[in-house]
């Protein structure tokens, strides 16, 4: 029973942290903080929430390290390639836009 309480407690803690991070993100926007502050706050909260969901809700924490790192690293590098390819068009569009 203690084991079950501990297991479910882990999810409750993760849930509370996710809600807190969501409130921080929405709060930063609602009070209209300067962009120099609100954007890093949103990016940090987003990263934190993604880590929590990946490790706790997707159980990556308890998977074999090879699988967890394989997923994280392959996604990261593929995203860089994707981002670079879109950036080529993005920069072209940026220069075409009348300012």
């Amino acid at each position: 029973m203690n084991n079950a309480a501990e297991t479910f407690g882990k999810f409750v803690r993760a849930w509370l942290m996710l809600l807190a991070a969501s409130v921080v993100m929405a709060g930063a926007r609602a009070v209209e903080l300067p962009r120099a502050i609100s954007v890093p706050v949103v990016i940090f909260s987003m990263g934190f929430m993604a880590w929590l969901i990946g490790s706790c809700f997707m159980h990556l924490k308890s998977e074999k390290r090879t699988l967890a790192w394989g997923i994280v690293i392959s996604t990261f590098f593929a995203a860089i390639v994707l981002f670079a390819l879109i950036a080529i068009d993005g920069i072209r569009v940026f220069h075409l836009t009348p300012r």
Binding site: A4, T7, F8, F11, V12, A14, W15, L18, L19, S22, M25, A26, A28, R29, A30, S38, V39, V42, S45, M46, M49, A50, I53, G54, C56, F57, M58, H59, E63, K64, T66, L67, G70, I71, S74, T75, A78, A79, L82, F83, I86, A87, D89, G90, V93, F94, T97, P98, R99
Partner: protein, 203 residues
């Protein structure tokens, strides 16, 4: 594969008889998730570039209702927690609890979809289409409908998947591994929203 063949399989990759010590179903779902994540990353990156390139962009707070979006986020985050708990309950062989937790997850997902439908109807009534909108920047409507629509389709598929999982679990037909796969997919839906919500609605 026979039992003797399984025993004889090489284990030098540390994965035993299956790659990376996971079932093929789970590995395939991870491949799907990584591919799908890149698709969303592509959408959001294109949206980011377009937004930077536009001299003006509508203020999302003037277009959307932040309290409702907060509630939608609350529902999806909560459903992620209940689904993760359902996976644990399945591992503990507590199938009554599994069914209850999946039903809570399903209700949260359905409520999220209802709110998204309401938001779409309202935005459409205000004149937004894929090709234009009253807020000036043409691409705004297109990105809104494509990104949220694509995510909503994932939520809808997840809700259907959960309905099947709940039915099968109530009949005693499910296995813990099946619930784990459903949970993995649902957590991915949750994960995507964590990026869509701030990048599209807040920043």
């Amino acid at each position: 594969m026979t039992d003797s063949a399984k025993t004889a399989a090489p284990v030098s990759w540390e994965g035993g008889v299956s790659p990376l010590a996971v079932s093929w179903q789970k590995l395939m779902l991870w491949f799907f998730i990584v591919g799908d994540a890149l698709l969303f990353a592509g959408f959001l990156a294109a949206y980011g570039f377009n937004r930077l390139a536009s001299p003006q962009w509508p203020n999302p707070l003037e277009v959307f209702h932040l309290p409702m979006l907060g509630l939608m986020t609350f529902l999806l985050v909560s459903s992620g927690a209940t689904m993760a708990a359902a996976v644990e309950a399945a591992r503990m062989n507590n199938w009554k609890l599994v069914v209850r937790l999946i039903l809570v997850t399903l209700l949260c997902g359905a409520a999220f979809l209802g709110m998204q439908a309401y938001e779409w109807v309202e935005v459409i009534h205000r004149g937004a289409t894929l090709h234009g909108n009253p807020w000036g920047v043409q691409a705004f409507g297109a990105y809104f409908f494509v990104i949220t629509g694509f995510h909503g389709t994932h939520v809808l598929s997840g809700v259907l998947l959960l309905a099947i999982a709940a039915f099968r679990s109530s009949r005693g037909w499910s296995k813990a591994s099946g619930i784990e796969l459903a949970g993995l997919y649902w957590a991915f839906v949750d994960l995507v929203w964590v990026f869509v919500f701030p990048l599209f609605y807040l920043v």
